[in-house]
Symmetry: C2
Subunit: 197 residues, 2 copies
């Protein structure tokens, strides 16, 4: 992950990390300002209200996810095992050091206290993820690589929920809980757990 050099993107990077670590009410403009060596008011210059900052963060999450899947689709066309691994890599990437939690899980957990614009973007992010992954599962079953019963959309929902829940557990307990969940998901798809990362 390339770190931004301009202040605006530095703020977004740091705010995202703080959100994932501490929840929406758990981080403040003061945290951001202190860490970046600037003042409170400077952060407000770039994002007038916290709702603006929060909404921009989620919009960026959506853009990043879209870029990631476009990259995967391009690099591994129709190679569903790699696409699955790419999808799993998203929540896994957050379970490093203390960065800890998948943003969607935090946003959904804090959903009722989020400003309207953040609620809308959160739903959009959730939808985007399931929609793409649903296509991957469907294709993989047609190819005879994935085995499961029921609609691909249902299976996509279930796996996405499991990855999200496992990401939360990993942050609170142990990272291995995430990996064990992934292993079981792959078993349930009829895959050997040793698929290349």
């Amino acid at each position: 992950m390339i770190k931004a050099t301009d202040t605006k993107n530095k703020i977004l990077d740091l705010a995202a990390e703080l959100l994932q670590n501490r929840g929406y009410k758990g981080f403040s403009y003061a945290h951001i300002a202190a860490e970046l060596g600037i003042k409170n008011a400077a952060v407000h210059y770039h994002f007038p209200t916290k709702a603006d900052l929060g909404t921009a963060m989620i919009t960026r999450f959506r853009e990043q996810f879209q870029s990631w899947t476009a990259h995967l689709d391009n690099k591994y066309p129709q190679q569903v095992e790699h696409l699955l691994d790419g999808y799993i890599a998203v929540p896994r990437s957050f379970i490093k050091n203390d960065n800890v939690v998948c943003p969607l899980g935090v946003l959904e957990s804090d959903f009722n206290i989020l400003p309207d614009t953040m609620q809308r973007e959160t739903r959009g992010l959730s939808y985007d993820m399931r929609a793409w992954f649903s296509g991957v599962l469907n294709l993989g079953r047609e190819q005879g690589i994935f085995e499961f019963s029921g609609p691909a959309a249902d299976k996509a929902l279930m796996i996405t929920a499991a990855l999200q829940g496992a990401s939360l557990m990993a942050g609170a307990e142990s990272p291995e809980l995430f990996e064990t969940t992934v292993t079981q998901i792959k078993r349930d798809l009829g895959l050997k757990p040793d698929v290349v990362l």
Copy 2:
């Protein structure tokens, strides 16, 4: 669910609802006092610090879960389909009106900002749940009722993570996401989705 009549338990009931709706930093002594028609200081009398209140809540969640599983084990001995439904009923019970989210998901999402005692109890609750459910899955497979590969503990972890993630999604998007996830979980266990509630 029987509502408590004494103040101390009224506080716990309400605090739990607020926690599940708004996260740990999203509720305050003022919220509780206003709703119960008492004053800030009265709440502090029963729970001197917020950490005390939070810890007591989780301890009660653990006791309630233990009572619930004891009840299930007694009412449906060795009847794994009913035990499974009883386990699913826990997160489902929170998806009514706006009560919305499974406590464990919120606590794990807010984990890094929780006081030490709350962190310990949260881990304990998570462990309790998976441990009991792991036994149910193992028994069900021995009986030939559940079909799955891999260790029962892994499958229990995966299903628990899925229920937790689905509970969060239900709160943020639509309750049906929870039910669809449950349907898929049952399909993956080789069950018909029409098992008695």
